[in-house]
Amino acid sequence: MKSRILSVLKKRPHGPVMTVSKLLLATYILLAVAAPMIAPQNPYDPLQIYGWEASSPPGTSGSGGHLYLLGTDGLGRDIASTILYGLRISLVVSIISSAAAALIGLTAGVSAAWFGKWVDVAIMRLVDLQLSLPTILIALIAIVTLGPGVDRIILALIIAQWATYARIARSVALSEANKPYMDAARLMRLPTSRIIFRHLLPNSIAPAVTLIPIEVGHAVALEATLSFLGLGVPIDKPSLGSAVANGFQYLLTGQYWISLFPGLALFGLIASINFVGEDVRRSLDPRSKSL
């Protein structure tokens, strides 16, 4: 599976938009990994922040000896550094939550297909219920119930996203469960957990995995929206979404850079994930090629 994804990424002919998106996404990941080394300032360290330089426009040189390339926010934090650190939080939160949602959704979907009867009914009714409401509403309800915090927001994103995977995994597992190798596994009297986790799950995994990149994009947008509304990550450790939110009150007085640049970074991140994700899905799933 992994090598297939890699070969697809390498070989597939594509236009300039695809190349740009892939380069952009790679740059984002590199920047996020290298953030503490390349950021001019650590925006979480109050000792490195000079309050009197708050709301400096882009290009101002700061007392710390470095240039505020994109200006500073209302608390004097360097916008460029805030973006780099915020990128880490946005990416970590959405990748962890998408991976966990995929794992939970897959297990639930495969279990529904394997056990059938009331397990199937219970799981799939819950899935239908969730998928019939907008994701943002589910995430809102979850975060209101759970309260604020980074761990809570990951949990809320998992709750909002697992159902999509469960539905796909179930339909694949249903068709896999009737194949001869499953009969063989059953005849060998393997333990149920072994059949599910070692045989059924690995063989039902592919269509759901192709969803992950797109869902990571959704998760980034969802996390940003929740953080923007003040329901996400705490304000002293901003993600890209809360960095944009911090700038909102200054926007009205014309200090556009505080929200413009983090927002641009966020838009580029979501767009590149969406373009690459669509491409991965399209090349791995022949049915959607016509789209």
Partner: protein, 327 residues
């Protein structure tokens, strides 16, 4: 006969969905913590105080009876009294509803024709520069975070150019006992930016859908027949292709209208539009739990009802749906 059975079946389904939702909501509220400690002070309360508060709140009752009481309250619109405004929570939410409905309707009135038109155009000229541009633009538009889009609209439309107001509802005129912005010029002016913020992602979504529908229908036999008959391309597009792609478009319009009610949370709080969404965020921040519950319930119920309506409309538009339900 077919219509009635579809209608009953769908309403029953929607009803069951609401019951399930209320159950999950009830369990959710109960798992959060013992509400007794919202009333009594944990440090100074004696066991006797706690017992009395428990009885007063009805928490000594068996769990199924508590659920029935909860259900009864929800059905009669009794979500308790707002901690902040000291008014019944449900009435507060209902009072804010017209503003949200107005915003969402205007946004949809912009998005539906524009999105369908762009999609038809792109699908008709598949593979051309125009098609690729529309497709790329729609993926990009769907990637823009809604809150940032709203803020940039304010930056460009209000702060840099000064063309539009940056927030609020403007002056309103009374109609059917409610205040509406779209009846006054000033109010309409205030509607432009928030409606655009809600409409843009939906234009992109509808355009993509109608594009793929157009491509599919253009390859069918009846379109080829129309072409052979010598009908003009415009007539084929408007009289034959459009009706055939209308079912998925109507479906997505209905679903997105419900989605707009949820997304209005973001747009309303940015444009200080005094609707349900702004009320929800304000109430969450003020820990005004009854209002939060009432708002979330109302949005969820509205969404389920819209879904059911869309399915019914689907049956009206598409005879195949009616026929399949009779079997």
């Amino acid at each position: 006969m077919g219509m009635i059975s579809v209608a009953t079946g769908r309403s029953l389904q929607a009803f069951l969905l609401l019951i399930a939702m209320s159950l999950i909501g009830f369990i959710g509220i109960h798992s959060v913590g013992n509400p007794v400690f919202n009333i009594v002070n944990i440090e100074t309360a004696t066991p006797e105080d706690i017992r009395r508060a428990t009885v007063a709140l009805g928490l000594d009752q068996p769990i199924w009876r508590q659920y029935l009481v909860f259900l009864d309250n929800v059905v009669s619109g009794n979500f308790g009294t707002s901690y902040i405004y000291h008014l019944p929570a449900f009435e507060l939410v209902i009072a804010k509803l017209p503003a949200t409905l107005e915003l969402a309707s205007v946004a949809m009135l912009i998005a539906a024709p524009l999105g369908t038109g762009l999609g038809l155009l792109a699908g008709r000229r598949r593979g051309t520069l125009l098609d690729r541009t529309i497709l790329r633009a729609s993926v990009s538009a769907l990637s823009i975070p809604s809150f940032w889009l709203a803020m940039m609209l304010i930056l460009v439309g209000a702060i840099l150019t000064g063309w539009f107001p940056s927030g609020g509802r403007g002056s309103t005129a009374s109609f059917l006992g409610q205040d509406w912005s779209f009846l006054t010029a000033n109010g309409l002016w205030h509607l432009v930016l928030p409606a655009a913020a809600l409409a843009i992602p939906n234009i992109a979504l509808i355009a993509r859908l109608s594009r793929s529908g157009t491509i599919e229908v253009e390859n069918l036999d009846h379109t080829r027949f129309c072409r052979a008959k010598g009908l003009s391309p415009r007539r084929i597009l408007l009289r034959h292709t459009l009706p055939n792609i209308s079912v998925p478009i109507v479906t997505i319009i209905g679903l997105q209208f419900g989605g707009m009610l949820a997304f209005a949370v973001v747009v309303e709080s940015i444009f200080s539009w005094p609707g349900v969404g702004k009320l929800l965020i304000d109430s969450i921040q003020l820990l005004d739990r009854p209002v939060v519950m009432a708002t979330l319930t109302l949005i969820a119920v509205a969404f389920v009802a819209l879904n059911a309506l869309v399915d019914l409309f689907h049956a009206v538009l598409d005879p195949r749906v009616r026929l399949s339900s009779q079997r």
